[in-house]
Symmetry: C2
Subunit: 187 residues, 2 copies
């Protein structure tokens, strides 16, 4: 859990007694590479801190899988609408590598919100996710798939080669063949 404490400290300072409560609430959970962490129609029961690994969020669109986001450890994730309202998810979450994560359920998450440090962390974390989502949306309006591929490469230089080509292509909104051509042009 030290990785989690370090992660939280980047957002807000956590007094020792509050850290003890956070620490007690989370349980460890592992997922194997390619395992589905959440499938469309299931209720997302947990909010996760991912200590190791990488996941993708995707939806099914007329039989085609469209990747919405990649999330890379150390980071937190959940299927927000499903988790907050405990209703069936409209998206899927899949492990792209072996995952070590820590989880809490909604009741525990709501209890933790009474801690000043946890409330502050979740608020700042939400702002960060919102800013990132807006950036992606703006990139989709202003940049070519090739530019967006280079952004991703710059941001996650070591990880981009671990993501299967088809997922990367659907995230960029292009055919896998087009992504191969972009990669070959820039070897």
């Amino acid at each position: 859990m030290e990785a989690f404490r370090n992660f939280l400290n980047k957002y807000t300072s956590i007094p020792e007694n509050e850290w003890q409560q956070i620490w007690s609430a989370f349980e460890m959970k592992k997922f194997r590479k390619n395992e589905m962490i959440l499938s469309e129609g299931q209720i997302c029961r947990f909010f996760y801190f991912m200590e190791l690994g990488m996941i993708r969020f995707f939806i099914n669109n007329d039989g085609e899988e469209i990747t919405k986001f990649f999330t890379v450890a150390p980071y937190c994730f959940t299927s927000k609408e499903s988790f907050r309202n405990q209703k069936p998810a409209t998206e899927n979450i899949q492990a792209l590598e072996n995952i070590v994560a820590w989880q809490i359920n909604l009741g525990q998450a709501n209890k933790l919100l009474k801690l000043k440090s946890w409330e502050s962390f979740t608020r700042k974390f939400m702002h960060e996710v919102q800013t990132y989502t807006e950036e992606l949306l703006l990139e989709s309006k202003t940049q070519t798939a090739e530019q967006r591929y280079f952004n991703l490469q710059q941001k996650y230089p070591e990880l981009i080669n671990k993501i299967p080509l088809k997922h990367l292509a659907s995230f960029l909104g292009i055919a896998p063949q087009s992504l191969s051509r972009i990669r070959n042009r820039n070897k």
Copy 2:
């Protein structure tokens, strides 16, 4: 301010004493149609509740204005990153109609966060904005400009004709001529 109280009540219940504090903190502000509420490079000093009117967020991209979002009253808005960190904005906000709004500065907003009702409202509001942004991102990956135009038309049937064609086209990521063709095909 009754419109604001009704708006907040959709998210969370506001005890009378907390409403009094919220009410005291906000000041009225009007903007004329086409007026710039915020220009790139300025610091966004306020968080707004827009009681009447409609605005657009846009950026300059190589001399071209790209519309990111439209926001329609009654709703809250700010340039989040600029407001929270009091640093120069990377986006512009423009009134598309005459606006009646209510504003608070960052110090006041932080004070209000100590109220349970205001903290709850801002958290739920942020979730709603995040969900909407994710929806737009997903639509940009899965739908044609024509489909996205119809979504907008369904969501804001009375307002869509008030938005200048060029702003609507840049929001959809297409040329104004292409949007004209979509409109003419569906008359």
